[in-house]
């Protein structure tokens, strides 16, 4: 078995036991990147020297008998919207050309402390706006299962890197499904924690009230390990919550017997592909076989989720992205006077999708439209939250498809933003309600593309999601399948 085939947890264990070194793991991952990434374009930047130096340092520490931390010298990848001190952070945008961060994101600090090795920064939709990683100013990432297809977005680079074994795990960010949907498209496990569970300090903001950092991994066990490393209150993020971090690893076992799983009727309606519906229903039946009780629940405001989401996220984005003006860092174009300079810099620096959303956001916040759009969206958001609250009075978690379809072809939906937006219909409401959600592989369609099962939990109840995911993965093996490209096929 290749070094890269083992899970993050197993690799960390092996390093601790001394059967493999951090350097060997890192080198293997770098080799895989060298071999596969020219095709997949999952990475925006790879820091081979830095990663090897760090691995050597960790190996030396281990040699001296010092503890390495939970992640034990295993290499991981970071979505390029989280800042690492001394390195570039681009958000896949030209406007951040030349920007080097003088500080570390909190998650980076915590991963460092846990003994992670950073391979590099992964590709994404520009400023995390998109569902296909085609809106990257760098390149479009390819789906490892079919390089003619998208990996999903916006954390498509991280998903593809983990799926193609070019990293043992990765961080992504999820604003409306940006971890779960690409995880589903790429056949990996993607966890979006409860809003406030993981500090956003150092995550370049897209929509502050929706953004949440989460993990990509091979399975639920690895997700528990990664989440344990990054979760917890951060005094630098006022919206991060002061709840204690449970032992996610310990929460894995125990099975699903007696667990009440809600099945929302609205998630199996119009728009879902037959194959997806079949696979997800089968997965839920599997949970039932394992002892879970399946209960019908209703989330009646699903239809309004997408519209609500696009009002709130574009409003916040229009404000969050105002700082990119060419004055202090990043790309600057000359202009006559300061306003011309802003205009020229932003015109050249932002891609079409980002511009579209800034304009939308500016519009919905404008005097005279605020009440009709933004304020109304906030009210609907409250209703959506209430839907979940009601459902969770009866169930412990909710099971649903992650995406209505499997990965689509590159370019297929690029000129039709509205259809693209609708693809996030199953993931968006979770962000609006601030809940945790996880996507686990639950089957493949006839084209050989992965299908994802989404589990949604109560606030801060990641343990239940991880336990259910783990029980399911113990009983199935979808997560063990490797894209053909990894072994030189496809």
């Amino acid at each position: 078995m290749s070094l890269l085939e083992q899970s993050l947890s197993d690799a960390a264990k092996a390093v601790r036991a001394g059967t493999v070194s951090s350097t060997e793991l890192t080198r293997a991952a770098l080799d895989a990147i060298e071999r596969l990434d020219p095709t997949l374009r999952a990475y925006i930047s790879v820091d081979a020297d830095g990663a090897l130096a760090r691995a050597a340092q960790l190996d030396a520490r281990r040699g001296k008998g010092e503890p390495l931390g939970l992640l034990g010298g295993v290499p991981v990848a970071i979505k390029d919207n989280m800042v690492v001190r001394g390195g570039a952070t681009t958000c896949a945008s030209r406007i951040l050309d030349g920007f080097v961060s003088p500080y570390d994101a909190t998650v980076i600090e915590r991963l460092r402390e846990a003994g992670a090795v950073f391979l590099g920064k992964t590709n994404m939709d520009e400023f995390a706006m998109g569902s296909s990683t085609e809106n990257s100013a760098v390149a479009a990432t390819r789906n490892p299962w079919d390089t003619g297809r998208v990996p999903g977005g916006s954390s498509g680079g991280s998903a593809a890197a983990v799926a193609a074994r070019m990293a043992f795990g990765a961080l992504g960010s999820d604003t409306g499904g940006s971890i779960r949907q690409p995880a589903s498209f790429c056949g990996v496990t993607g966890l979006k924690p409860t809003y406030g569970r993981v500090s956003r300090y150092g995550l370049v903001a897209f929509a502050s009230s929706l953004d949440q950092i989460g993990t990509f991994s091979r399975d639920g066990r690895d997700a528990a390990l990664l989440l344990g490393a990054i979760a917890g209150h951060d005094p630098r993020d006022s919206t991060s919550v002061k709840e204690t971090v449970p032992d996610y690893g310990a929460a894995l076992d125990g099975g699903v017997a007696g667990l009440r799983v809600g099945m929302p009727a609205e998630y199996f309606g119009e728009g879902i592909s037959a194959e997806t519906e079949q696979a997800v229903r089968a997965a839920i039946a599997k949970l039932n076989d394992l002892g879970a009780e399946v209960v019908e629940v209703s989330l009646p405001h699903l239809d309004y989720a997408v519209a609500t989401y696009y009002i709130i996220c574009t409003a916040e984005a229009s404000s969050n992205l105002a700082r990119y003006d060419g004055v202090r860092y990043g790309r600057r174009l000359d202009g006559e006077g300061v306003h011309d300079m802003y205009r020229a810099s932003r015109e050249a620096g932002f891609g079409a999708e980002v511009k579209r959303r800034i304009l939308l956001g500016t519009y919905v916040l404008s005097a005279g439209y605020y009440d009709a759009y933004y304020l109304k969206a906030l009210k609907v958001r409250t209703l959506i939250k209430a839907d979940f609250d009601r459902a969770f009075e009866h169930v412990d978690c909710i099971a649903a498809p992650t995406s209505p379809t499997t990965a689509f072809r590159l370019g297929e939906k690029l000129d039709d933003p509205l259809t693209m937006y609708l693809l996030d219909i199953y993931t968006i409401s979770v962000n609006l309600a601030g809940l945790p959600g996880i996507s686990v592989p639950c089957g493949f369609d006839q084209a050989g593309l992965p299908i994802g099962l989404q589990l949604i939990g109560k606030p801060f109840d990641e343990p239940t999601l991880l336990r259910a995911a783990h029980a399911y993965q113990q009983a199935t093996d979808w997560q063990r399948r490797v894209p053909p490209i990894v072994d030189g096929g496809a």
Partner: protein, 478 residues
């Protein structure tokens, strides 16, 4: 037709906190450009603000002192506009749920109290400063970016430039008493904007308001309002209308000029700041803070007028500065006779402090020492005139008055024989005035007293001098 002016004031004060509103950077004034900055106040990608509780406390104290309602629940909003000295291109401010609202600031107008209604006082962050360099380029200093600001907005209750000045001085004094701001207009820690509307006397609707920005001194505010009153009145008299616009005060030309017209008014696209949680204050905390408020300046002034019998002017001067009032009050408590204390403090002490540029923080004269000096006058050890010499020495050396009197031999001469000797000598040397006096010119008596005092270097007991001199003049000579 007569015209009246209606003025509302918007005052921004920088709050005196150690660190900025949303990060740990220092707020100290005068540092080299961009030395008090961090990723947060520079608005770098990925940063988040964390609210400084001290700034909230300061704002609440001001609100309490202004009799405002303190919101148990308030929140921050983003005010979006592009400006190169604003790192994020939005300002974190408070829009629809400010920390404090609906209060009042009492001012004294012609001896009567008038309450100027306060619409709100809310927290926000300051911007940086543009530096126009010699080579024609512009730099930005972000040291000030993120310093907590309190914006205090009044209702349009002021009716003259003088009232506006009174309002600003009262507000400044209040803020200084509360210890929340330096209120230094030169350093920009207090900035005023006046909204001025001129209309025919006797009401009529409030017309389009002209906002005057960039006024850097209280005199400037006065002159700008006076100018604006005349400008708008002249416009109206000629049948014109006043446009809603923002004007800039130019102290050199002593006029206001257009800065922005209504057509170019900003749409700030306010919305709730998603990176900060709302500010929740429980009643108990607010009440506890209310109890820690000092006696406010106007209350103090009225007490000095009613209980100490001081004039409006004197009590106003004494209470304009908390340290001055504290000093005066300590003396008055130790000595009684507030009017005497007031005269010495406002007379000799203030004169010396002004001349020598000494503030209360470095003043060497303590209230006890001053009172000891007054007692020396009362018990005849020194004369009132010598008192002035003693206080000057106390001011310079910090020594107690009795020590100064002994060291310098300033004791009053009450020895009759000694004084008689001096008087004899003075009478001999001034035969003409003596003759004049005896010829019926009472005025020369004062001159002769002065001569005696001079001969004793002011140490002679003036009462005794009077007595003895009168006797000598009236009995001698025939």
């Amino acid at each position: 037709m007569d015209y009246e002016v209606v003025i509302g004031m918007e005052v921004h004060v920088e709050l005196k906190t150690e660190s900025k509103a949303f990060c740990g950077c220092s707020t100290a004034f005068g540092a080299a450009p961009n030395t008090h900055v961090c990723p947060v106040c520079l608005g770098l990608p990925g940063v988040l603000p964390v609210l400084n509780r001290k700034a909230v406390e300061h704002a609440v104290r001001v609100g309490l002192a202004l009799g405002c309602e303190i919101s148990a629940f308030s929140k921050f909003d983003r005010k979006n506009y592009f400006y190169p000295d604003m790192p994020k291109n939005y300002q974190i401010s408070q829009y629809d749920k400010p920390l404090t609202s609906t209060g009042r600031l009492p001012i004294l107008v012609d001896g009567a109290i008038r309450e100027i209604r306060i619409r709100r006082a809310h927290l926000e962050e300051d911007a940086g400063k543009l530096l126009h360099l010699d080579d024609g380029t512009t730099g930005v200093d972000f040291n000030r970016a993120g310093v907590p600001l309190l914006e205090i907005v009044s209702e349009p209750d002021l009716h003259s430039a003088d009232e506006a000045v009174e309002y600003l001085l009262r507000l400044k004094t209040l803020l200084e008493y509360l210890g929340v701001s330096d209120c230094n207009m030169e350093e920009g820690s207090m900035r005023c904007e006046a909204n001025v509307d001129v209309r025919p006397t006797g009401g009529g609707p409030i017309g389009d308001i002209v906002e005057i920005k960039n006024v850097a001194s209280i005199t400037g505010v006065k002159r700008a309002i006076e100018f604006e009153f005349e400008r708008q009145r002249d416009l109206l008299e000629m049948g014109g209308t006043v446009k809603r616009e923002t004007r800039r005060w130019n102290p050199d030309s002593a006029r206001t000029t257009v800065m922005r017209t209504k057509e170019l008014a900003h749409d700030y696209r306010y919305f709730p700041e998603p990176d900060l949680v709302p500010v929740v204050l429980d009643r108990e905390t607010i009440e506890r803070m209310r109890e820690t408020l000092p006696e406010l300046p106007l209350a103090r002034q009225l007490r000095y007028m009613n209980e100490h019998g001081l004039s409006e002017y004197d009590s106003g001067v004494l209470t304009a500065q908390q340290a001055a009032a504290d000093f005066y009050e300590s003396c008055a408590r130790l000595y009684g006779q507030p009017k005497v204390v007031c005269n010495w403090v406002m007379g000799e002490l203030f004169r010396l402090m002004k001349e020598r540029r000494v503030g209360f923080d470095t003043l060497q004269v303590t209230p006890t020492a001053l009172v000891d000096m007054l007692k020396l006058i009362d018990n005849g050890t020194i004369s009132g005139t010598i008192g002035k010499t003693v206080i000057e020495a106390m001011f310079a050396t910090g020594l107690p008055p009795d020590r100064i009197v002994v060291d310098r031999g300033l004791m009053q001469i009450s020895d009759t024989a000694e004084l008689e000797k001096t008087i004899t000598a003075v009478l001999e040397a001034n035969s003409k005035p003596v003759a004049d006096y005896r010829g019926g010119n009472e005025k020369t008596f004062g001159f002769l007293v002065g001569q005696v005092m001079r001969a004793t270097k002011g140490k002679a007991n003036p009462k005794l001098v009077n007595e003895l001199l009168r006797k000598a003049l009236d009995t001698g000579g025939e």
